[in-house]
Amino acid sequence: MQLENLGLYYWAIAPEIIVSVVAVIIMMVDAFSARGARKLNAGIALVGLVATLISVIMLERLGTGSYFSGMVVIDPIRIFFSVTILLAAIVATLMASQFLKDEGLPPGEFFSLLLFATAGMLLLAAAGDLVTVFLGLEIASITSYVLAGYRRYDLRSNESSLKYFLLGSFSTAFLLYGMALTYGATGSTNIQKITSAIASGQVTYPALLLVGAGMMMVGFGFKIASAPFHLWTPDVYEGAPTIVTGFMGAGPKAAVFAAFLRVFAVGFGPQDSPIGVQLHSGWVTSLAVIAALTMTIGNVIALSQKNIKRLLAYSSIAHAGYALVGFLTGDFAPVAFYMLAYSLMTLGAFAVIQLLARAGDQRTEIAEYAGIGFEVPALSFPLAIFLLSLAGIPPTAGFMSKFYIFRSAWDMNPELRWLVLVAVINSIISVYYYLYPIVIMFFRPLVPGFIKPRIAGLTMVALILTVLGTFYLGILPNGLMNAMTKPVAVVSQITGR
């Protein structure tokens, strides 16, 4: 067998290669430089991430298709989710510099872990095979566990890391078992081959496939923090260093959504064969219920939160629910747009929280924000914008992405209109708790003892980027939406060119 027939086409995994190489370079630089080459490391990470972003955009030129025997695919899902992941990583890097300095934490490991996590997520978004899904997920998860416990002298951070690790491993086991069962039923781990096996009805044990799909749904459900698999989220989010929390809420979630989409919406899409029909209607119905539960539980519990990080943790659960509504349309574009918008606003919000909390995450109670609105407008107004965007008030990204989801869901699947109504009612509920920090910040008198946080240059850049991004997606989403909805010539080649 000639190598070319395997589709060993390294340009197809250029982004993953670049990120990994840069991560290794950072480790080397850190090893050979004097202690605290923080700025150098951050600089290298940034350059590497931007180069990766460019390489992702260049991927489009290669054309859609599968490479490496179908292990990796290039399609719009990969490209758009990779952009989201990289933007999240870039913003996290921009903010990390000040965070590491304030906390006195070693910079080298942080940036290389961040980049390895990014590599894992990119691979997850690129996966065309269940094995690659697993590989990407594990790379991303294990680095995230370490990042969550990065403030290693802090008990909360340790607790967060351990919980994340235990529940993450637990869910990975579900996922892996599901994959094994699916393999047993269809005889392949390649998603395209699985799809064609289902389409032609060549499934050895239909029940096995259904159970396998169910287990994978549980596994993915854990990773995106959908109810009833969400219980780990608030504790992990609260304990992890704020910047890591922001990154975890944006990057890994987007990456898992990409894989989730590719396995379910694409792989288990509607088929004519009896097993295909059964499988599709089965997962659509259960996911609809999960989406409704996720939104409602996330929003209702968020109402009573007093800690801003926990509030955003529950809000992230709720937002996973909204994104799942888009999932059910079977179209990737609303979900991709939603995840991009959500990543920007949530990262921006965590950036502000990180600055307000100061070293050691001391101030994360919302009550401690009293009256700071006009004291630090450079932080309070962006936070207000992010919160209003999360609540879905125009002209922000949050509104546009919700609109996109609701519109697609209402249009494409009349049986799911009840879900849109549930989502709208949930949006109304969510307005109340998103307003709460704004009320505290702007309408209450200042509490004595407030010290204005220092805002470093790079952090400011991160804030400006996220604010501009929030408005850009809310006011001028045209270019991006057209790029997403542009019909692509789907090339179903297993071997590359």
Binding site: D411, L421, V424, S427, I428, V431, M481
Partner: protein
């Protein structure tokens, strides 16, 4: 870029200018008070400029056309078919002018604000752009966007610069409105999809529905009507959805109350005319008696509650509930007279109630109380002020030769001749609202203005100042002008109002009405 766009976004430009001005001069060490003064003048400059530019709409406006004029259309979000589509028609032209007219006056009324002047003025200007955008949008998506955008500055105006219970009032205002508007969003999406999912163009959808090209299934239609109606009824506010209004009014700063009553509430009645009637003519006809019943209850209830208010601002707030009941009554009577009257009453209410809030604000600044019992014989120390307060109150209660009379008279006559079931009864009941409004306004005037000065603090009150005159006199003048030459306004609204009416009740009945008139 055409005139309408310029008018809409000039205030936003002003907000940007204020922001940059502050950033630049504060870094150069200009003192806070001096800067505050500059912020006020910059805001005045931009609001007056917007008003002057908006006056240019008048000469170019053709009263013989019902369709939107001076339109500007650009593709915006092509994958949804969203357009930037602005224009102006008979229904919106005077509302736009009312907005640009009230803004400079409310800025004058907020001259005494010393807390965070720059942010205050920025919110005011953003609010103006939002309100203008609502009235000029002919794309549902754009309309929704502006409709929501107005919420945020108002929320901050109440929450930061409001009175004692401002937080409660601000949140209540926000939540009530958001509930309505999110339901409306679903209805907008649904209508858009029934129309083919390619356009949010209000004119196109109206035509498609009128000609039967777009059919909304019967079962859904009612709920979509309901979703739109709830959003607008909350905004109007129609009884029993009015409870946010007194709280918001009482806690809002004076300028906030003026704009809230003057413009924001009109967004509700405007929406009814723009969406509910043309999109769902049959449901609107079916529901008309119910809506009218609620409107009449609102008229009487608002008036009765206003009568017993010890607080002047609350009294004016409840009078708003009553007066806007008239507007809704007129809209759902479906006769030309009543609908024209309703539109006219929207403007009247903006002028009169805006002025009343301004007057209450002036008294409050002097005495820091709004309780009626704290006053008495104010006319002695403040003769000029009292005269104007008097004129405005009389205009609000509908004295002939003042604006309120024209609106209420047209609505009641039009409702009486309406074909809607029970319309005559509703007209008669509504007419009691006119009497009641005379009772509560005159009674308040009597207790506040006339008689001997009962309290020593009131004896030395300063009469209206020059700055306050600049704020109040234009409103008083408008009240008189609109009461004497109403045709100047009604002529330009006639065509558009009639076209809406024709969609609802059909052309045939229009002929019948004309014959009846002869």
């Amino acid at each position: 870029m055409k005139l309408i766009t310029i008018v809409t976004f000039l205030p936003l430009l002003g907000a940007v200018a204020l922001f940059l001005h502050g950033v630049f001069w504060a870094s150069r060490g200009t003192s806070g008070e001096k800067l505050d003064e500059q912020y006020r003048w910059i805001t005045i400059f931009f609001t007056v400029l917007t008003f002057v530019v908006s006056l240019l709409i008048l000469p170019g406006f053709d009263s013989s056309i019902a369709a939107p004029q001076m339109v500007e259309k650009h593709d915006w979000i092509t994958s949804f078919g969203v357009q930037y589509f602005v224009g102006i028609d008979g229904i919106s032209i005077w509302l736009v002018l009312l907005t640009t007219f009230l803004m400079p006056l409310s800025v004058i009324a907020s001259w005494h604000v010393t807390k965070r002047v720059r942010e205050y003025m920025i919110f005011m200007l953003v609010l103006e752009t939002g309100m203008l955008g609502v009235f000029v949008s002919f794309d549902m998506f754009l309309f929704y966007l502006f409709f929501e955008i107005t919420l945020i500055p108002m929320y901050f105006l109440i929450g930061v610069w409001g009175g004692e219970r401002r937080i409660y009032a601000a949140i209540k205002f926000f939540i009530y409105t958001v509930v309505g508007s999110l339901l409306m969003l679903i209805a907008i999406i649904a209508i858009y999809l029934y129309n083919g999912g390619m356009s949010f163009d209000i004119v196109e959808i109206t035509n498609n529905i009128a000609t039967g090209r777009t059919v909304i299934p019967g079962g859904v239609k009612f709920w979509l009507w309901m979703a739109f109606a709830l959003a607008f009824f909350i905004k109007v506010p129609l009884w029993p959805l009015h409870t946010w209004l007194p709280d918001a009014h009482v806690e809002a700063p004076t300028a906030g109350s003026i704009i809230l009553a003057g413009v924001l509430l009109k967004m509700g009645t405007y929406g009814l005319m723009r969406f509910n009637l043309p999109f769902f003519p049959d449901i609107s006809r079916e529901m008309a008696p119910w809506v009218m019943a609620f409107a009449v209850i609102g008229i009487i209830y608002g008036a009765l509650v206003a009568m017993v208010q010890p607080d002047m601002k609350k009294l004016v707030a409840y009078s708003s509930v009553s007066h806007l009941g008239f507007v809704v009554l007129g809209i759902f009577a479906f006769t030309e007279t009543a609908m024209q009257g309703a539109l006219y009453q929207m403007l009247n209410h903006g002028i009169s109630t805006g002025a009343l809030f301004m007057c209450v604000g002036m008294i409050y600044e002097r005495r820091h109380t709004r309780q009626i019992e704290d006053f008495g014989g104010v006319a002695t120390p403040m003769p000029n002020f009292s005269t104007m307060f008097m004129i405005i109150s009389l205009s609000s209660l509908g004295l002939p030769l003042l604006n309120g009379f024209i609106g209420e008279f047209l609505i009641l006559i039009g409702t009486f001749s309406s074909d809607v079931p029970y319309a005559k009864m509703f007209a008669v009941l509504g007419a009691t609202g006119v009497i009641l409004s005379a009772v509560y306004l005159l009674w308040m005037l009597q207790r506040v203005m006339f008689g001997r000065v009962t309290r020593r603090e009131n004896a030395e009150l300063e009469d209206i100042t020059l700055r306050e005159k600049f704020g109040l006199i234009p409103l008083v003048a408008m009240a008189i002008i609109m009461g004497v030459i109403p045709m100047m306004f009604l002529r330009s609204t006639e065509k558009s109002v009639n076209s809406v009416r024709e969609i609802v009740v059909g052309k045939l009945e229009r002929v019948a009405v004309t014959i009846q008139k002869d």
